[in-house]
């Protein structure tokens, strides 16, 4: 037992942090936000250098299918760094679909899709649906609120004992991208009207793996974002002077920043506990995932809200980045199960279902 990063993990963290700090600038993110249609909320150039130059899109995917190996701890380091810059990339879809296929796909499906996902050639999105039935290998349904559904090429429909892959460029597929509050991860409505689908070999395994990866991704993004709101607010508190003092010298202000740090440190424990438990196949993994998703989302939203408050008027402007964090935090609160739902799952695990 050693709950600290290995040297290799520290190196990965430094590399991805450096990468996103250099490339995922506010200007580039805002350019992606301003685009529409299939370009909405996607920095394609960033995604391709992330996947091909940095070669980190394969983290958490099996090496014998073109992935980089490693585990969810390393993936969380990547998602934390991406989240800290609110990078406009389809990381969530990659994690859910890649891990879903790796867990529930046949060998043929794995070798068909995983190398292309890891290489960044194919962008993926995932949509939850329960109780669907395919007819002659075709599916008809409406899937709402699909993150980055407008930009994706490949869709994983998951949620029950079955899971399917859908070519989003194929016939019988209509995608509408919505203008979404978090413009760095727009939601889409996808209508399948007799679209050809390919069932995964083990739909249940794919569903569980996709959800676990999604929860880790969102938790780690939230951690990175929350830490960034704290760092930026601390920096501002040293510069801004009122009443002849740096505002960071006022105790009410200091204490709010301290409260942010207290929550963020717990969020950090949550993310890496969950990721590590998942990698080790620990029996605590399920509880850890629910804990991480609910705790980190709450932490991020609290911190991003504080960032606005502690910046005063400038924090309420479009020009300032505070709203990017705030809106990403808001969307993470709801995505893949809200806090109440996750906490109820924790309650079930420790005290059984409500009689």
């Amino acid at each position: 037992m050693e709950f600290a990063f290995t040297d290799e993990q520290v190196m990965i963290a430094d590399t991805v942090r450096g990468f996103f700090a250099e490339h995922a600038s506010s200007e580039r993110t805002r350019a992606a936000m301003a685009a529409s249609g299939t370009a909405a909320g996607i920095d394609r150039a960033l995604w391709s250098s992330f996947a091909s130059e940095l070669g980190l899109a394969g983290v958490g995917l099996p090496e014998d299918h073109g992935g980089a190996g490693l585990g969810m701890v390393e993936f969380a380091l990547v998602a934390e760094a991406a989240g800290s810059k609110v990078a406009a990339i389809p990381l969530l879809g990659l994690a859910m679909v890649g891990r879903g296929i790796a867990a529930g796909g046949s060998d043929a499906q794995k070798s068909q899709w995983l190398p292309r996902l890891a290489g960044g050639e194919v962008m993926a999105a995932a949509a939850w649906a329960d109780g669907l039935r395919a007819n002659d290998g075709r599916l008809s349904t409406t899937l709402n609120f699909v993150p980055h559904g407008g930009a994706a090429d490949l869709l994983l429909v998951y949620g029950g004992d079955d899971a399917w892959l859908v070519d989003l460029k194929g016939d019988g597929v209509a995608v509408t991208t919505h203008v979404t509050m978090d413009q760095t991860r727009p939601l889409a409505t996808i209508v399948l009207d007799g679209a050809a689908v390919e069932p995964l070999a083990d739909g249940r395994a794919a569903t569980m793996a996709a959800l676990a990866a999604g929860w880790i991704c969102l938790s780690a993004e939230a951690l990175g974002g929350a830490q960034e709101t704290l760092d930026r607010t601390v920096a501002y508190s040293r510069e801004r002077v009122q009443f002849g003092r740096a505002i960071g010298s006022f105790q009410a202000y200091k204490h709010r920043l301290a409260d942010m740090m207290v929550e963020i440190e717990q969020a950090r424990s949550a993310v890496y506990w969950a990721a590590c438990a998942l990698d080790e196949g620990s029996e605590e993994a399920t509880l850890a995932l629910h804990a991480a998703k609910s705790f980190c989302a709450d932490t991020y939203h609290m911190c991003a809200g504080n960032m606005i408050q502690l910046h005063g008027g400038i924090g309420f402007t479009w020009e300032h980045d505070a709203h990017l964090f705030f809106k990403r935090a808001r969307s993470i609160l709801t995505l893949l199960g809200d806090g109440q739902w996750h906490r109820e799952q924790v309650a079930r695990l420790i005290m059984g279902a409500a009689a």
Partner: protein, 392 residues
């Protein structure tokens, strides 16, 4: 990063679990699971000595001083099994977890030989003489004076809130040894026998009815000239290092007590018909999550490879657990309803959960209040400007 335990660790777990359960089901069954620090003191002193006799009293210490040189994983395991077996709160917590490690870090070989065996054997119970009427959060404002008189320290002053002083054999005292000094400079860290004519201990009744802490009056109290850790006038450093041990491995044992308390709240929710109440379920889940994060925060803090780095997990740990327990106390009372307010018999006859509810109000005060923690986090963790000092 690795959470799992090795087969050797699991063998160690089996060994301590077997011993602890045998004790708690056998010779020490009468003190199994008693929550309060003040109950059954003589029996708990015997328990300390039983732990010592089997080399379980301070497993993290070097073997030379009665420990086992236990690894972090082993200390985690022992803390878990200790609580699982229902063994009582350690009455010599201050000796084993605070005084001992500080003596190991700052003591001369002669001092180690003089003080450590008593702690390891469970025969010397220690208490902490820091706070004074005029020096609480502002500990550097201590007024207790120490002067050297024919090779002996002679100490005069008053300490307050001294936990367990009435059961203790030894007290470490932070006193001003340099005439005219102010603030952190000029303070010495003295190790004194409590049982002497110059020290008078008067218990103070707490709001939960118990009297766990005391006023401690020092009137020409004495100790040897070399009964001092660190250099003369340089005791502040020692006093601060000791506080850092409060965030050490002892937190693991404390967490296991919290585990038992949360389990008791969950049981109470079942017996009081609240187990299906969605709001209570949310709060219990939150408490469970908070407790798990406390565990992994502690493991991060203890696994940290670079002790010099400002470690966020360590800096935020105190306010985190204190606030968690205060919230748990409130949850416990909401679960119990009015039944929680009935104390049959004495005014301190509350059950363990109502008592925890009351006691938890001190968790956010001792060891640095929540406000002081926030100052420390902001100043040391985030590098913000320090609080100005006044002139009063």
């Amino acid at each position: 990063m690795k959470l799992g335990f090795s087969p050797a660790d699991e063998a160690f777990r089996a060994e301590c679990a077997a011993w602890l359960t045998a004790q708690m089901n056998g010779p020490f069954a009468d003190i199994r699971g008693i929550p309060n620090l003040c109950d059954a003191i003589p029996r708990r002193k015997e328990w300390e000595q039983q732990l010592a006799a089997h080399q379980w009293s301070c497993i993290g210490w070097p073997e030379q001083w009665g420990g086992r040189n236990a690894t972090l994983a082993q200390q985690v395991i022992f803390a878990e099994e200790y609580a699982r077996a229902g063994a009582p709160n350690r009455i010599n917590h201050i000796g084993v977890e605070l005084a001992g490690p500080t003596i190991l870090a700052f003591g001369t070989e002669q001092q180690k030989a003089q003080y450590l065996p008593g702690i390891a054997a469970g025969t010397a119970i220690w208490c902490q003489g820091y706070s004074e009427p005029g020096a609480g959060s502002d500990l550097a404002n201590v007024k207790t004076k120490a002067r050297l008189e024919s090779g002996e320290w002679v100490v005069n002053g008053q300490k307050v809130w001294t936990s367990l002083a009435h059961y203790s054999d030894m007290i470490f005292v932070v006193a001003r040894s340099e005439e005219g000094s102010k603030g952190p400079k000029g303070i010495s860290f003295l190790l004194m026998d409590i049982d002497q004519p110059g020290i008078e201990v008067r218990p103070i009744r707490q709001m939960n009815g118990e009297a766990e802490f005391n006023e401690t009056f020092l009137t020409d109290a004495r100790c040897a000239g070399d009964a001092m850790l660190g250099a003369r006038g340089d005791g502040w450093k020692v006093a601060m290092a000791l506080l850092a041990f409060e965030r050490g491995v002892s937190t693991l044992g404390q967490q296991m007590q919290f585990r038992n308390e949360l389990d008791a709240v969950i049981d109470a929710a079942r017996t009081h018909g609240k187990a299906a109440d969605p709001v209570i379920r949310q709060r219990i889940a939150k408490a469970e999550i908070g407790l798990r994060l406390m565990r992994y925060g502690a493991l991060r803090m203890l696994s940290g490879t670079d002790p010099a780095a400002i470690d966020g997990a360590a800096l935020t740990y105190k306010i985190q657990w204190a606030t968690w327990r205060r919230d748990l106390g409130e949850l416990a009372m909401d679960v119990l309803g009015q039944a929680g307010e009935i104390a049959d018999g004495d005014h301190d006859g509350w059950g363990p959960l109502p008592n925890m509810y009351l006691f938890s109000r001190s968790d956010t005060i001792y060891g640095g209040t929540n406000q002081i923690q926030r100052n420390l986090i902001a100043e040391r963790g985030l590098g913000l400007p320090r609080e100005p000092r006044g002139e009063l």
